[in-house]
Amino acid sequence: MNQEFEKYARQELDQFEVPIDTEALWLNIEPIVQPKKDNRRIIWFFFSGLLIGAVAISLFFNRSKINVIESTDTSIITTTNSSQTLAAADPSSPVAPEVILQKDGIKQQTDHTPIKETNNQAKKQSTLYTSRPGAITEKAGFKSSVQSTDTELNNAEKLKDDAIVLAGVSKGLNVENDNVIPKKPTETGSSLVGIIEDSEEENDRGISKVLITENEMIPNRWEQALIPFSSFLSPVESDKRFASATDVIEGIKARNNAEMLATKEKAMAEAKAAAAKNKSKKRRGSFLNDIQFGLGLYGGISRSTTELDPRGVQNTEYELLRVNSEKQLETLHAGLNALIVSEQNLYLRTGVEYTRIGSLFSRSSERVETDSVPGIVEIQINQVTGDTNFIEGNLLRTKTTRYIKKSYNYFHLVDVPIILGYNFGSEPLTFGVEAGIYANIMIKSKGEIFREDGDFYDKGEDPNGWYKNNLGISPFIGCNVSYHLNDNLRIHFSPGFRFPSVFSTSTNPLQERHANLGVQAGVRYIFDNY
């Protein structure tokens, strides 16, 4: 009996299985058997993402409008030989400048002569008045001080009775090149690095000007965005900074105990939740068992192409004005993804995405000031005796100040992408293709552009209702490369193209459309079976 019974019992019990809630069991086991570094890695990713996001947001919000003023200074000095006289010094000259020369201090007068302000980019012209150096001129919402530190300028100030305040655009001047000795340019503005351009302009009175154009002054955006590291360091009292070894060990023990307790409690709670989940899972059937869910965080950069379509022939000039005054900048993207991945490697991606389309709007104007400084205006050489005679007088000096105002225009978009894709390849590297739509929730415009009449139009206020509040739906196609860091965590690099959407309304004289071609990169966490 014994052997037969035991054989039977062995066979029966060998195949015997007792049903057990493996989900709850795994929840108890997982925290013990899983190395902690995996959790740390996720935390690192999470906080790195947060940090990148914070820096990007900080950069974005600190990128305020920047006014740039360029100054160009022109100095003129001429010499003549015995047969020549300086035309500008002689008011009776047939090519005398268009201002009255006041001499010998009989009458002090500052001649406020209208000058042309030339708007290079916008071809916009306006008139302003200038006075002697040092005066402050304000126009078109920006203010600048014309500073002259040169010695000659001071001299000119002293000899103001003899000064000529001459204004005029440089095109009226002419010169005989051989007689021109360029003078040291006057320093203007702040500490900008100057570049001497090769251009020289001449007038017909033997006066030459040398243009010294300074580099564009664009403040370093990083400086604005980055907080000095020292600001993170707060003073710590010395007794709080150092602890004894015993204190440290006790602290670690206490922390470990607390962690263990917390882990145990968490495991119990999770076990209950898992049991409840198991019940509902059974109810839901097998379909949901075959799909996985994921969450992702991503950022991207793209190039936005702008199409301005004139609605009539008369708008072509306006289109040109807009095209010349606006320069498209990079477009930034940031978003949160939710994914559903099927066993067949199909996935549905949705979420919320923020897009910022940027452009640079710039306009410039130029002011030319002309005055005089004392100097040798004529050198007479007696060719028989060899005597040289220096005749002093006033030399013309022209100063050109160029103003450039730059501001950044933005479209802020919030979209919900609904994208269907298919993944192929084997881990750790997989590839995918995807297509779908971007449903725009909101669009907000900010900045300034030119109106048809040459004035500025505030896109933010949008008084004429030129821009839409919602773009509707735009098609999207893309592909992606994913690298699986582990079973759950993936990083991806996804080029994509968003088809053009019309941003303008019918009241806008130009139809404005934007399309985006760019890349996104991010991290996705795929949860285990639901």
Binding site: E4, F5, A9, L13, E17, P19, I29, V33, D528, N529
Partner: protein, 183 residues
Amino acid sequence: MKNYTEQQIIIGCQQQNPRFQKALVELYSGTLMAISLRYARDESAAKDILQDALIKILRAIPEYQEQGSFKAWMKRIVINTALKQLDKSSFKNELYTIEDLPDQSVQPEVYNSMAAAELMELIKSIPEHYRTIFNLHAIEGYSHREISQLLHIEESTSRSQLTRARHMLRKLLLNHETIKMRI
């Protein structure tokens, strides 16, 4: 859960991949729980034994050499874990002689219709130390020498306790037969 092969699970667990670790728990928990129940006092103790054993398995698997059955390797770990939790003092070095016990045969029809759960119940009804030795020798196939080493007892003690266990089981089976006949 995906259907992984035993080989995939072993490799995955050796790489400490949580997906495969979970798959191991899901796939083998039922079998290992049945073993644990045979040695434990009650279900709660069996669950504790199973949990401890699974932790040991998952920690020891990177050193697992693929010699012999993987299932048998896991079973050994469960049994060793269960034995460590037993009160060893219950294994007294007592001797029973065969002559002391009446020999009465039990017909196979009595136990052939018994399901595994019933057999488990039957075996669990005998005292813990007898049951342990019976399980080790009759069900798991350990020799008396191995049992003596595992439980730190004399081989003769193992033999006599096995005899006692068999005797008790026979009595229980006969009672079962009587009850069955009455019905």
